[in-house]
Structures are given as C-alpha cells and as structure tokens.
Amino acid sequence: MLDNTNPLIELRDVKKHFGSKKILQGIDLKVNKGESLVIIGGSGTGKSVTLKCILGLLKPTSGEILYDGQRIDHLSLRKREDVNSKIGMLFQGGALFDSLSIWENISFGALAKKQVTQSTAKKLAIECLEKVGLDPLVANSYPSELSGGMQKRAGLARAIATNPEVILFDEPTTGLDPIMANVINDLIISVTKDLGSSAITITHDMNSALKIADRVAMLWDGRIIWQGTSQDVENTDNPYIQQFYQGCADGPIDWAKKKF
C-alpha cells in the first residue's frame, strides 16, 4: 500500500439496491496499481454485484466508482468501452462464446478494438494460449470440446489478450479439482506479475485467497468489514474472519443457518 494516494480503482460508499433488497450498503475499497486484492465473503453477500458495478454491467444506486481518478459509474455504454478496454475479466463459467472457435474467442477483444489485423489475430491467440499453458492445437476447437479447467484457462487467455491494466476474477477456482485450482492460482499470480496488472478476485476459497492476495477484504452484509494482508488473515482475532477462515458453522456469520 505504498501508493495509497493514487489508487487505480476506487469505490466510494457504493450502494446497490434491487427493489427493497439492499445488496451493497456502502462499499469503500481501493485497489492500487500492480496490487492483487481478494474479496472474500459467503454466497449472496454481494461479491458478484461489486464486480458488475466496477465493470459497468450494473449501475450503483448511489456512490462513486473511480478509475485512475476519473468517475466511471455514470458513463454511457459507448464511453464505457474505452474504460472496459483496460479491464480484463475472467467469468466464473469462462463465458466463452460458443459459436466461435477458441482462437476467435481469445482475439475477440483485440479485434474489436482493432489492435490487431485479422491475419495476426491467430498468432496473438496462440501466444496467449501458451501463456496459460494450453496446447496451441486447441486454437481451432470450440469451447464445448474443452473440459471445465481448459475452458477456464482459455477464458484467462481471453482476459489477458488485450494487455489489461486490471483483471477481475470471478471465483476462478470454483468447480475445479484441487490440483487444477492450484494451477489456476499460479497462473493468476504469474499472469498478473508478467503484465504488471492489478487484480481483483472474488472467491470463497480461502486457500486460493491466501495464495494470490496482496490484500484481503471481507465482504459481509453489503459492507467491507475487514481488510488486511494475507498474514493478517491468519493472525487476526476478528471473529468474522476467523469463522470464515476455519469454516465453522457457529459464529457471527449466520447465513448458513438462516436458510433452514
């Protein structure tokens, strides 16, 4: 947190309500350049909504979102495109376009922004595939022909293809076996280090969080209730973090019981 005065992304008192449901009740968050922030929290606490607000897929009910010092939460879809071109996103299910082949998927953003020509697009895609440890031979396959783990890697390749300044990861290890989950963790670390990008990850997988985070923030009940480094997570006496870390059913977090 050296460069605290000039964060890359900043959320100021962001609230988001759906009808009478108050999902976000005032989020304050800063992400510095080159920093990897992990937001942890249980299901339904508003993690995905937070990411969608940053991406402009949802408009916050109130509050400000700043990118590099400029407000981006009120931009029209057309002006958003410039901001979004600096942001990469790895969706939970990969969200690869299933009507396009893998290489068309990966170079989609670069082609849309006319960063590359049609002829060099495939070359770019193969470079990105190699970065995420996929065989260049899969370039011509379609997403449905790949396994879940490979789809996630291809999704990661697509997210990094435009050299984004910040990459958002939506539950990158969910639904993967422990080994593949670790492979993805390592990929996230190496990819962000190589590109020098910032990263915001939302997850409820504590192993993954501790591994990839420079800083961890805990989301509960629509607010950030705790922030600290990975070491702090293990040492803190905050009951929420402790409960989440240890995965106890008993404690201040009672959503698991509420449902019954």
Binding site: G93, A95, L96
Partner: protein, 270 residues
C-alpha cells in the same frame, strides 16, 4: 347478524384478492412494456452507429432466410392446393377457371403467404433466437461481450433485426410463387381445368397491390419477430427454466403480434 357480517367480510376479502391480482398483472404488464420500450429505443438509436458486423448480418440472413425456405415452401404449397379444392367445393357448379384462379392468387399473395411465412419464421427462428440469446445471457456471454468493448446491441441484436427485416419479404415473394403454383397444380391435375384459361385468369387479375401488400407485411413481420425474440432472449434469467420461458414468450408474443399487425397493415393498404 354476526354470521352475516362474517360473510360480508369474506366477500370483501375475496374482492380484495381479485383486485390485488388484477393490479399485479397490470403492473407487471406495464413494467415489461416499459422495459421493451427502453430496449427498442436503444436499438433504434444505435441503428446508424458503426461498426456494422457484415459477417454477422450475412450469417443471420442465411439462418433466417435460406434455412426457412423449405418450411415456407411446404406450408404455402399446401395452402394453395387446399384453397383451390375448397373454392371448387364451396362454389360448386359456379366455380370455373375465372373464379378459382383469382381467388387463389389473391388469397395466397395478400394473406396466406405472408401470414404463414411469418408464423413459420416466428416458430422456427424466433424460438432458436430467443434460446440462443437466452443461453448467452445466463452463461454471462453477453456480459463478456461488454467487457471486451463490444456493444451487444450492435453485435447481437442489430444484425439479427436487419437480416430478419430483409429476409422475410423475400421469403414471402417465394411463398407467393410456390403457393400459386400449388393452386395451379390442383386445379389442372385434380379438378381438370383448362390450362390456358386458368393461366390467363391468374395473370389478368394480378395487380401491383397484391405483391406490395405482401412485401410491406414481410418488412413489418421480420422486424417484429426478430425484435421480440431478441428482447425475450436477452431478458431471460435464472438458468434453463428462464431460457425455456423466454423461448415460449418469444414465439407467443411474435405470433400474436404479427397477426395483429397483419390486420393493421391490411386495414391501411386496402
């Protein structure tokens, strides 16, 4: 006394439930109309702004136009055939070449070919469009487009609407020809009418309005079907069930809307 007041209370309660239910339906109807109006406005505002994605337009044109040819041809040929039989049977001894031929061509060109082609495309294309876009929506592919600096309105919706609006009039013209041909075949080979008289009666009674009414209907139907199907597809939520619901809504809404629009266009043009 107390029994009566209790009964009255019950009636009042039932009345409240009825009013609440009607109110809920009205509110959700108005809500969806509002959402649709926003969708349509966004689409129309973006209609002239590049990029245009010509490859998307061509592939959608093939999907909507070319691959619908067999169904449209089959439905219109049978419609023409059955029309000739019915007029013969209904008119009895009055029916001759000069009566059957014009009725078949007016019926096919003005009504049957546009409506049948519209309904077939609504069922075939509307359903697949809503299902495809709905699946893209629930698997976050639409969100992924936005993060890759591509406007879903321009990349997904506009090519489909343009392709549909161009394809349907062409399908209807082809349906016209095939439907009239169906009537001709039945009249000549089953009802043993005179070829020369039949052809002459068909051609001499044709006016430009017969053709143009079908083209105008085609333009309207193509637009309505694609816009409604895209709207329902994109507004689906909640996994497989939501996609199924969106598909049903798309087909029902486009079928009813084109029949309604059919009456309006006919009322204006004749």
């Amino acid at each position: 006394m107390s029994a009566m007041s209790k009964q009255r209370k019950n009636i009042f309660y039932v009345f409240l439930v009825v009013v609440a239910t009607i109110g809920k339906v009205v509110i959700s109807f108005l809500e969806s109309m509002g959402k649709f109006a926003v969708f349509l406005t966004n689409l129309l505002l973006s209609i002239v702004i590049p990029p245009y994605y010509p490859r998307q337009i061509v592939s959608q044109f093939m999907e909507i136009g070319y691959f619908s040819l067999p169904v449209v041809a089959l439905t219109t040929v049978f419609a023409g055939m059955v029309l000739a039989l019915q007029i013969r049977s209904g008119m009895g001894s009055m029916s001759s070449e000069s009566l059957v031929a014009p009725i078949v061509s007016i019926g096919i060109l003005r009504e049957l070919s546009p409506v049948l082609a519209g309904l077939m495309v609504a069922g075939r294309v509307g359903a697949s469009m809503a299902a495809e876009l709905g699946t893209m929506k629930v698997t976050e592919q639409v969100d992924a487009l936005v993060t890759l600096s591509t406007n879903p309105m321009k990349y997904l919706i506009r090519p489909r609407v343009i392709a549909g609006t161009i394809a349907l009039p062409l399908l209807i013209i082809i349906g016209d020809i095939i439907g009239v041909l169906g009537g001709y075949l039945v009249s000549i080979y089953r009802l043993h009418m005179n070829i020369g008289l039949y052809l002459q009666a068909t051609l001499s009674n044709l006016v430009m309005l017969d053709l143009s009414i079908g083209i105008v209907k085609g333009l309207c139907f193509g637009f309505i079907i694609t816009v409604l199907s895209c709207y329902h597809g994109l507004s689906s939520s909640g996994g497989a069930k939501g996609v199924g619901k969106a598909t049903t809504n798309a087909v029902v809404a486009s079928s009813i809307s084109i029949l309604f629009c059919n009456y309006i266009v006919t009322g204006f043009m004749v």
